[in-house]
């Protein structure tokens, strides 16, 4: 019956791993038509793959695991999806209802464990409730502010037989997300947009989730408002556009952070003002009125006070705003922006004989024309990928923002590739992160997924090393990975292709070569300088206009 529910929700791909309490479910999956099950090699991989699938396709990602350790292995993946508002339905097996609460073999109270990291969750105690719960779960996961919803199903409920009637509608008394913004408030906001002299749009992940990128582009063009994005918002606004400021925050561009602190109006769209975006909240955008548009009312006023709160779906609100704003040039402000962009471009030592990670990222952008899907792990490589790849399309940058989960990228890339077969998918990784879920490589091999796994190998846990260098007197405690696997041999052992690149002149050639390999994944290991840092950087807790830009200005 579970599978019938999934089919009713038009699910075609599920990620999972079997175990004792889901044997009945897997028995039904055997020879199940129209539903492809991707066997991962660790449950965390299933959660991240479903997450990557959801981010790339916009559909609800589904994963399955057994009770106990299967369920707890999902926890990081669920938390990751929750922090980044990814629509997911997670199905876990549970010990039979008669064994609940008795510390039965492989029993763990997963609904309780996931209270704090899921949008909602269910323990199904009666088969009759199952269709309604699935209907609700998919509705909750995808609507409003999306998020993961877990359904825990005891084994006896899985095997129970009953009439299957899937409800047409969802009725949840306590859940009615607001999509249309309040009209009077929209008029007020339109008025202050028209009056603003130095407005900046700060676009977050909500713009991508609501599919508002076209409306955003129109608004920016009409009123000449420069746009900065958060990490989650990358791709919501084309970075080659002259009004694009790139990313803001701790590792944001100088122009974005200067613009925020000079602005007289911040138009925050679908962003939660994470500490990584704002730096010190008290000195964030000191001269600006903040208009905060978000579908989740709880985000408004949580981290940053907003004088103009507007609850609603970003797309709907922008559509309404577009009717009311006046077209204008605002050349004084846009030329200031342009001058910042010219004076403070992203820089690194382009002349260096070493392979610079920024260079590798730029070449990937060149070779893919920005059409590739870029997944990342977490660390320095993630920030280089965020900064030095010119993001121009929504749902093409897949990265763990809120939770910062190392080991996310590879399974997420697998999910993304399975959802978008025609796309060229890259996983940008470090030598540390890639080892956290390396076991999933075999899944990519098994399904002939031509994912390019770019390992920027600096022999360190680079981001922590960078902090230790800058703030802890270069005491590199446990961040030196002196013992490293041979990634080329590792690739070959798994049946993937492996290329090691240690000369700058071979970078492009290797990338081109990898793109020609279409029947299996390729690991590209780039040996980069261990000392390369991510700049600009705002020291934690600092004001975002106090940027360290490093010594390699070019």
């Amino acid at each position: 019956m579970v599978l019938e529910c999934l089919k009713k929700e038009n699910v075609t791909t599920v990620f999972g791993y079997p175990g004792g309490q889901v044997i009945p479910l897997y028995d039904a999956l055997y020879n199940c038509e129209g539903l492809e099950h991707i066997l991962v090699r660790h449950e965390q991989g299933a959660a991240h793959a479903a997450d990557g699938y959801a981010r790339a396709t916009g559909k609800v990602g589904v994963c399955i695991a057994t009770s106990g350790p299967g369920a707890t292995n999902l926890v990081t993946g669920i938390a990751n999806a929750y922090m980044d508002s990814v629509p997911m339905v997670i199905v876990t097996g549970q010990v039979p209802t008669s064994g609940l609460g008795k510390d039965s073999f492989q029993e763990v109270d997963i609904t309780n464990i996931t209270f704090a990291i899921s949008k909602h969750n269910y323990l199904v105690k009666d088969l009759k409730e199952l269709p309604r719960i699935f209907k609700e779960a998919f509705h909750l996961a995808a609507s409003g502010r999306p998020g993961p919803v877990l359904i825990d199903i005891p084994k006896d409920v899985q095997v129970a037989k009953g009439e299957f009637v899937y409800p047409e509608e969802v009725k949840i008394r306590g859940y009615k997300p607001t999509y249309q913004g309040h009209l009077a408030q929209i008029r007020k906001v339109a008025k202050i947009i028209n009056q603003a002299k130095r407005p900046v749009i700060c676009a977050g992940g909500g713009v991508i989730l609501s599919g508002a990128h076209e409306e955003l582009l129109k608004l920016a063009n009409t009123v000449s408002i420069p746009v900065t994005t958060t990490l989650m918002g990358l791709g919501s606004f084309p970075e080659e556009h002259q009004l694009s400021l790139g990313m803001l925050g701790m590792h944001g561009t100088c122009s974005a952070n200067y613009a925020i602190n000079e602005a007289d109006l911040i138009l925050a769209l679908g962003t939660r003002f994470s500490d990584r975006s704002t730096g010190s909240v008290s000195s964030f955008a000191p001269k600006a009125d903040i208009v905060h548009i978000d579908i989740d009312p709880a985000e408004i006023g949580k981290n940053v006070f907003s004088f103009y709160p507007l609850v609603g779906d970003v797309k709907e609100v922008l559509k309404a705003l577009l009717q009311l704003v006046e077209s204008k040039e605002n050349s004084a402000w846009t030329s200031q922006i342009a001058s910042w962009k010219t004076h403070y471009p992203l820089s690194y030592d382009r002349e260096s004989a070493e392979i610079k990670p920024q260079y590798v990222i730029e070449q990937i952008h060149q070779l893919t024309n920005g059409e590739g899907i870029i997944a990342t792990e977490v660390g320095q490589h993630q920030m280089w990928a965020a900064l030095h790849y010119t993001h121009s399309k929504p749902r093409h940058f897949i990265s763990s923002g809120g939770l910062g989960t190392m080991g996310y990228g590879l399974p997420a890339a697998i999910g993304a590739q399975l959802g978008m077969r025609d796309k060229l998918v890259f996983n940008i990784a470090g030598d540390g992160s890639i080892q956290m879920n390396i076991q999933e490589l075999i899944v990519a091999v098994e399904h002939k997924l031509p994912i390019k796994i770019v390992i920027l190998n600096n022999g360190h846990l680079g981001m922590v090393r960078q902090w230790q260098e800058l703030f802890f007197n270069k005491r590199y405690s446990s961040t030196v990975l002196s013992c490293c696997p041979d990634f080329v041999k590792l690739a070959e052992a798994y049946g993937a292709a492996g290329i090691r690149i240690d000369k700058k002149e071979n970078v492009v050639k290797a990338l081109e070569e990898s793109i020609k390999i279409t029947d299996r994944p390729t690991i590209l290991e780039f040996i980069i300088s261990p000392e390369e840092n991510v700049f600009p950087m705002v020291p934690p807790g600092g004001c975002i206009d106090q940027m360290m830009t490093g010594g390699t200005k070019k």
Partner: protein, 172 residues
């Protein structure tokens, strides 16, 4: 400042854990929390007394709203309402003190519900001030045990407190 919230929730297992977990996770301070079934057996009503300034309270209420099982939240602090709490007190007694204790209880309209050789159990309903006052008066005799239910509250039907209600409050 203390605020009294009444929260209407679905009467389902786990709802209390969700609400309690939310408060501890987000670092909100609960003074008291009571919960019980309402006139509709599918619904429960919680009365939560929470400490915090306006922004904190706004977050509490918005975060509560995000819980799918939460249907309605009302901050009744400023509304005309009846707020009550039940207290049971076991107080040490001796031949000499018993009469005095009973007299205090009478003044407060507290009931003596159990009498032992060396202790009395007293039951009283009232608001914060009244309960605190009784407790302080009984403390010198020696409090053996004390238990309070936490507040329950209901908004009055009348906009202004009527005389009947005020009397009621005195008697309460």
């Amino acid at each position: 400042m203390k605020h009294v919230l009444t929260v209407l929730v679905e009467n389902q297992p786990g709802v209390l854990a969700r609400v309690a977990g939310l408060f501890s996770r987000r670092g909100f301070n609960i003074n008291s929390l009571t919960v019980g079934e309402t006139e509709n057996s599918h619904l429960s009503r919680m009365t939560i007394v929470v400490e915090g300034d306006q922004p904190v309270l706004e977050q509490v209420s918005k975060q509560l709203h995000k819980l799918i099982n939460v249907i309605k939240i009302t901050d009744i602090t400023e509304l005309p309402s009846v707020i009550r709490e039940l207290v049971l007190i076991k107080v040490k007694t001796s031949q000499q003190s018993r009469a005095e204790i009973v007299e205090i209880c009478n003044i407060f309209r507290a009931k003596v519900v159990d009498v032992g050789r060396d202790a009395l159990m007293v039951e009283m309903t009232g608001d914060d001030d009244k309960i605190d006052a009784l407790v302080e008066l009984l403390r010198p005799f020696g409090l053996k045990e004390l238990v309070r239910t936490g507040k329950i509250a209901m908004v009055r039907s009348t906009k202004n407190k009527s005389k009947i209600n005020e009397e009621d409050e005195l008697n309460g």
